[in-house]
């Protein structure tokens, strides 16, 4: 919502683009067959489109709007997400515009009781978190998609019906110039919390809605306070409310505050009420004296809701259409991007005949598994931020009070920020046969390592599957690698290589991966580890590749 007198796209800092309607061939009687259609041009939908394009698959993206999102909404991108954006070739704009951060503070009764520092080192290209308004996230992705010959964006195109059979999916699309039918092999539903595709297939989300309701409000304010996450409990100004404060680019500050259990949400979002609360928070909680302007606000409810199955035949649900998670820990957008990439590379491999269709069966266990893991962590965060019962409130306040002077109670105030999920139980992942003292375990994403000035291990990944080869390979494996021309070999710790890209690799790099000369890591297109070995044979590699593509 915006202040009275300002339109939805009338922002203090952001120029909303206008995307015109372009008449598609279907309206003139043509019936092109699309490989993949994506409903929803939000960050998740467009990321899926770019991932498909990266693997050589054309797609069409449909969105009912003529511009990007009305408000800042999801503002925290995790390192894992930035590594996704790097693979899509768009990371530089995000890093240049976004505000990176590593730290946070927790306050209880207006006293700082805890500071946290997220894991970071000079081995990483990206900071653990980057704050950027969702409009920018969408704009940067959309502008990249517009440059791609493989992505067709269709604006002002609302999907009003979905049917599927064994051959494909048919959408009914409503436009300013009439309705048409669009057919495709597969459909990705990235149409958000109120997904029309979900409704059309008569599917419902299951789980629970927590009690807590939050107002999220953006203000423009000049302040020197660094980019950190701040959480306030029992502040004298609003003792019943938990308050979160984040900095965003363009002097925009995100203020989230909890509503009381008896507060009427319709009244709470009235502009006068918002202004009154925000003024008190800025003056008394944040201790700021400067002028501020109200930019945008919205109401938020904490949910843990998900579909039982993320794939229904030729339709895959990605992002909020598949799951709604609480805001605490910034998991909504970041998990949506991981959904998009997971679905994207698998669809590409199936459509190109490089993997059997059953590869898609792994989408639900991997990504719903990630959602359930989010629920477990976000549930704890939510119960701490917004205690649902008298007992939880009593324990929460006890932990905070003890944390003032006792470090052992401080971790209760830890925000449990998003961490990438490990597909350890996935049918695509091979469990370790060899003992490794370090390194990402099977199913986990690769860890980055610095190779030089502005040069990191992940910069060198190829588009498809990758093999990290540490030192000299056995002659038997080396001879077999020629049979996998599409496998990118990153040959670490060698000056020259006949097998792939020679890359530096010192003892510290080998140690970080628990590797010995001859060790190897097989990496999927989404950077998650399929298998690793100390001394692999050609047969080991072949078996792992078959398993990682859905099994024989």
């Amino acid at each position: 919502m915006r202040p009275a007198g300002r339109a939805e796209s009338d922002s203090l800092y952001f120029d909303y683009p206008h995307f015109p309607f372009v008449r598609p061939p279907e309206l003139d009687g043509a019936t092109p067959r699309h490989r993949v259609a994506i409903v929803g041009a939000g960050p998740v939908g467009v990321t899926a489109a770019l991932e498909l394009a990266r693997h050589g698959i054309d797609c069409v993206v449909l969105d009912d709007k003529a511009t990007v999102n009305d408000g800042s909404r999801a503002i925290c991108l995790s390192r894992h997400s930035l590594e996704i954006l790097q693979q899509l070739g768009v990371d530089r704009r995000f890093v240049a515009k976004g505000l990176g951060w590593t730290r946070g503070r927790t306050y209880f009764r207006d006293r700082e009781i805890y500071r946290f520092e997220m894991p970071h080192s000079d081995q990483e290209r990206f900071l653990p978190m980057v704050n950027l308004q969702q409009q920018y996230i969408e704009q940067f992705l959309i502008e990249r998609a517009m440059e791609s010959e493989r992505v067709e964006l269709r604006w002002q195109s609302a999907v009003s019906g979905v049917t599927q059979d064994a051959e494909g999916v048919t959408l009914t699309v409503s436009t300013p110039e009439g309705d048409y039918a669009l057919t495709c092999d597969y459909l990705l539903a990235a149409d958000g919390a109120r997904s029309l595709v979900r409704k059309a297939l008569d599917l419902t989300l299951h789980g629970e809605a927590y009690e807590g309701r939050y107002v999220i409000a953006d203000v423009r304010l000049k302040s020197d306070f660094p980019t950190e996450r701040r959480a306030f409990f029992h502040s004298a100004a609003l003792p019943e409310a938990t308050i979160l404060v984040h900095r965003q680019p363009d002097d925009i500050w995100r203020i989230d505050y909890q509503l009381g259990p008896d507060e009427d949400p319709d009244e709470a979002v009235q502009e006068a009420r918002i202004r009154d609360r925000v003024e008190r928070i800025i003056r008394e909680v944040m201790q700021e004296r400067g002028d501020w302007e109200l930019e945008w606000w919205s109401l938020y409810k904490a949910h843990t809701l998900a579909l039982d199955d993320y794939r229904h035949g030729r339709v895959l649900f990605i992002g909020d259409s598949a799951h709604l998670v609480p805001i605490f820990g910034v998991r909504g957008l970041n998990n949506g991007l991981a959904d998009a990439v997971n679905a994207g590379w698998k669809l590409a491999w199936v459509l190109q005949g490089r993997a059997p269709e059953r590869l898609l069966d792994s989408y639900t266990p991997e990504r719903r598994g990630a959602t359930l893991d989010v629920f477990a962590n976000a549930g704890k965060s939510t119960r701490f931020m917004t205690p649902p019962t008298r007992g939880h409130r009593r324990m929460r306040d006890a932990a905070l009070a003890l944390a003032l002077h006792n470090d052992y109670a401080s971790p209760f105030a830890d925000p449990r920020q998003v961490t990438p999920y490990t597909y350890a139980e996935s049918p695509l992942t091979l469990a370790d046969r060899d003992a490794f003292a370090a390194g990402p375990r099977p199913g986990a994403p690769l860890i980055n390592r610095r190779l030089g000035d502005d040069d990191f291990l992940l910069d060198h990944l190829g588009t498809g599957f990758n093999l990290l080869l540490f030192g000299e390979a056995s002659p038997e494996l080396a001879a077999a690698l020629g049979e996998y021309p599409e496998l990118a070999v990153l040959h670490l710790g060698v000056e020259d290589s006949a097998l792939g890209q020679p890359l530096p690799g010192d003892a510290a790099l080998f140690a970080a991966y628990g590797a010995e000369p001859g060790s190897a890591y097989l990496v999927r297109p989404d950077r998650h580890l399929a298998a690793r070995w100390k001394r692999p044979t050609a047969a080991d590699l072949n078996d792992a590749l078959i398993t990682a593509l859905g099994g024989a």
């Binding site: 009764r109 009593r394 932990a399 009070a401 003890l402 003032l404 002077h405 006792n406 052992y408």
Partner: protein, 66 residues
């Protein structure tokens, strides 16, 4: 410090379990229950100075809260 302490994961489980137990009691029983729990826990700690330190920490936190 030589005394061993409860790992944080277990402390979290205690937190959740206590929240549920408090919810199951009438509000008026909260105080007596917590006092009984403190005695039962103290009985299991062989070093009285540890118990006294815990009493000090809790008292200090209560004063901050009040």
């Amino acid at each position: 410090m030589t005394a061993s302490t409860l790992p944080f994961d277990d402390l979290e489980r205690v937190y959740e379990r206590l929240a549920e137990t408090l919810d199951a009691l009438p509000e008026a029983q909260e105080g007596p229950f917590l006092a009984q729990l403190a005695l039962a826990l103290a009985h299991r700690i062989p070093d009285v100075s540890q118990v006294e330190a815990a009493i000090f920490e809790a008292r200090r936190a209560s004063e901050e809260e009040g």
